[in-house]
Amino acid sequence: MGRKERLRRIDAVTDAALSHLDVDELFAELLQRVRTLLAVDAATIMLTDPESRELVAAASDGLEDEVWQGLRLAEGTGFASRVVAERKPIVLNQVDATTVASPAVLEKGMVTLLGVPMIAGGDVVGVLQVGTLQSREFTPDDADLLQMAGDRAAAASLAGLARLDRAATLALQRGLLPTHLPLVAGLDLAARYVPGHKSGVGGDWYDVFSLRSGRIGVVVGDVAGRGLRAAVIMGRLRSALRAYALEWEEPAKIMTLLDLKARHFETGSLATVSYATLDPETGAMEISLAGHLPPVLADATGAAHLATIVPDAPVGVGDTRPRTSTTVDVPPGAMCLFYTDGLVERRDEHIDVGLARLCDVVRPGTAEGVCARVVAEMGVVQAHDDIALLAVSRTSL
């Protein structure tokens, strides 16, 4: 192929003008150009759906809408799955039910297929595939061109997903975190949630609710991972914990149930959780830590320290050793601050340095006051990870 022709083809798929299109428009335009340049009868983009382990048809040029729309192929079967698995362009000259899973391809009567993996961020996000109704010899140049188009489509897809992801995660988080904390006689409550600087919205949460016994339940948790996935798991754990807390009083029991639930239904996920029940009249607090950092307690004299509690394993680990609940006294005038590790963990620092710094900052006073001080003095705004804070102050008698 002449140099001019080669450049013309490359230009057609790398054209800067395509950048202004949204993902759907870009797919449509790219497929149209690919179809013309390669003189094929159909060009289709399939995207991987990691949750359901399927390939989903996202766009097509040359196939009737009703043929490809809604098409889902299970991973591991057929030609497109092979392309995903092998992560390289593949030509298929024998198109039949043993080599191809797509009913669209089979019904149409495609005879030759060329598929390339769409790779972005190191992951295969989909497959770009073209087919012909007459037998065809695809050349290495054809495969290169299709791969270039595939790379373009992959990058656009990732950018589009990232935008959707962020918007969805924010909406989910806002919907899930309590906007108003309950009013409890004898207690002053305040909380903060700050999305991470780099990681964005994630799996941290706080929760406060009254129990039938008159005690209140206080939760702070941190689902490992980032983005929408962590936020969704967080939502499930938050709900489950609330349900268990209405049924059982003992924090250790609730953690045991939560661990079982996470291990069974959210396999592969992990969360550290702190759950405490507090009697506002006596200041008696029962607390169980599932791999979570202990709260800071500052009494009326002003001295702040980490509550002495031995943590059990995080939930989702499946450590079946009996969990423990520890009794901590919250005297009148004392401040108890729950938080997530984003507040005290710094890359180049021993965690004890961050913990000591936090103990310097926490003092008895109003719950709002302590939250504001902590945010200001712990460098919260520049923090890497998301942070949840919950301050519980027992008002003086």
């Binding site: 991972g225 394993a313 050793r321």
Partner: protein
């Protein structure tokens, strides 16, 4: 990666040295007495997956037995690193290997054992109850 002709027949040795990824170097081997993996560097989102991969390959390349994980030269471990260690323990369970973390640096021990309560689950030497 070869195995002995039959279980227990003679000594077989599988040597695996993995190309380092930036931030983490992992070496491992198994022989008739069990497996040993040593890691050097840090465990975070960018490196933890590689540790899981190397250990996974090792677990599948020989007869199950004790697996010693030496983290003496790992200077940092965050929640991604912790998730990876838990996953390694799960894989060991599935494939009937017995995991023991034989060494841990002080800062990592502070986080993983003291503050995250994973000493018993990861069978950290000097910590089992």
């Amino acid at each position: 990666m070869g195995q002995g002709a039959s279980p227990g027949a003679g000594d077989y040795r599988v040597c695996m040295s993995v190309a380092e990824v930036p931030g983490l170097k992992v070496t491992g081997h198994i022989d008739a007495s069990g497996g040993r993996v040593a890691a050097e560097g840090y465990l975070d989102l960018s490196t933890a997956g590689h540790l899981v991969e190397v250990v996974g390959e090792l677990l599948r390349s020989g007869q199950p037995g004790p697996l010693a994980l030496d983290l003496a030269e790992v200077s940092f471990c965050d929640s991604a690193g912790i998730t990876a260690l838990v996953r390694i323990r799960h894989e060991c369970d599935e494939l009937s290997w017995r995991l023991e973390v034989v060494n841990m640096s002080d800062p990592v021990r502070r986080v993983v054992v003291d503050l995250t309560g994973l000493g018993p689950f990861l069978n950290v030497a000097g910590d089992s109850a």
